[in-house]
Amino acid sequence: MNLFSDWTWFHRLGSPRWFYQNSGRWLPWLSVVTLVVLATGLVWGLAFAPADAKQGNSFRIIYIHVPASFLALAGYYIMAIAGAVGLIWKMKLSYMVMKSAAPIGAVLTFIALFTGAVWGKPTWGTYWVWDARITSMLILLFLYAGVMALQYAYHSVDAASKAGAILALVGTVNIPIIYKSVDWWYTLHQPATIKLTSAPSMHPDMFQPLLVMIAGFYLFYALVLILQTRNEILRRERNTSWVRELAAAKMTTNTIANEAKSE
């Protein structure tokens, strides 16, 4: 009779309320793990990993640059997938995830570009090169900006979500094309041989902390995404009874605490 009985978990997952309550339970654990991993990676990478033979200590910026670049790109696909899920299954939570992912991704892209420029100066002698990877990162930043701008331009949340999702999907088609086109364009006018050190050729002593940092950034990304999504849930569901009850409960505990203090 019930065709969708096997899909209940999926629909429960799509319920903002369910997500809010369950993510609340996991959050403290996630934040502790993230903090530990990031701290380990940073101390290891910055203090204990050996300095590079050629670049000296300036190479250490990869411990920020590489994970940020990873997550900037992965974040775009996460955003686009969230948008696609929203479009296909009309899942509200998914749109909220999409909206929350955009600014995080944009900040990470900016960090990747900025650290890249700082690193580029001592390494290549210039802050900026129109290299395939760098150019597509810049375009990625613009694409994030577009999705964010669309979210703010619409008064209607539904329209903003759908429009953002469509734009994000069009962008996913374009990122590889842009990368390829700039790369190919360079084979004539500028060499594509400027590439980040390919990871496996790194010394294990340098590579291991990098792996830890990448893991740390993934955790950090998940943490911030969940926090942002929770905010978005509260903002969009502020008129529902469960959010009202939540706010009322919070208010009473606060007043009790305040009264206790004043006494």
Binding site: A53, K54, Q55, P122, T123, W124, G125, W184, T187, L188, H189, Q190, P191, T193, I194, K195, T197, S198, S201, M202
Partner: protein, 152 residues
Amino acid sequence: MHPLRKQRLQLVILLVVATSLVVGLVLYMLRENGNFFYTPAEIIGGEAPRDVYLRAGGMVVDGSLQRAEDSLWVQFKVTDGIETLTVEYSGILPDLFAEGEAAIASGIVDDNLVLQASEILAKHDENYTPPEVADAMNEAYKQKQENKEGSL
């Protein structure tokens, strides 16, 4: 035919034609897209076109680097193990540029078979050699060995 089915058919035909066009054109591009990277041997041997923007690379010959005193003009030689190519460049060399290391110069080969570079790039990691340089040098080395064997 039901008009809706007719329209669906039109849309599907459009998609199929477009997809095959994309595939066909990309395949053509991949086949036709020449390599703009030349080895010093190819340039000296006259295989590379003149007055065309191209890239050449190899090992910077020890002791070949000359700098002008009053300007940023530099001259150096790169080799692939067979021939040496003179490169002239005006500008700041990258920090990792060094004699005995690989470098890539982009520019135009003039009538004296000197590469007038508008850009110089140095490899920046000791574990990393631009693959095309490495390939070209291996190829050249093999040929040299074969030639030697042949002459013996």
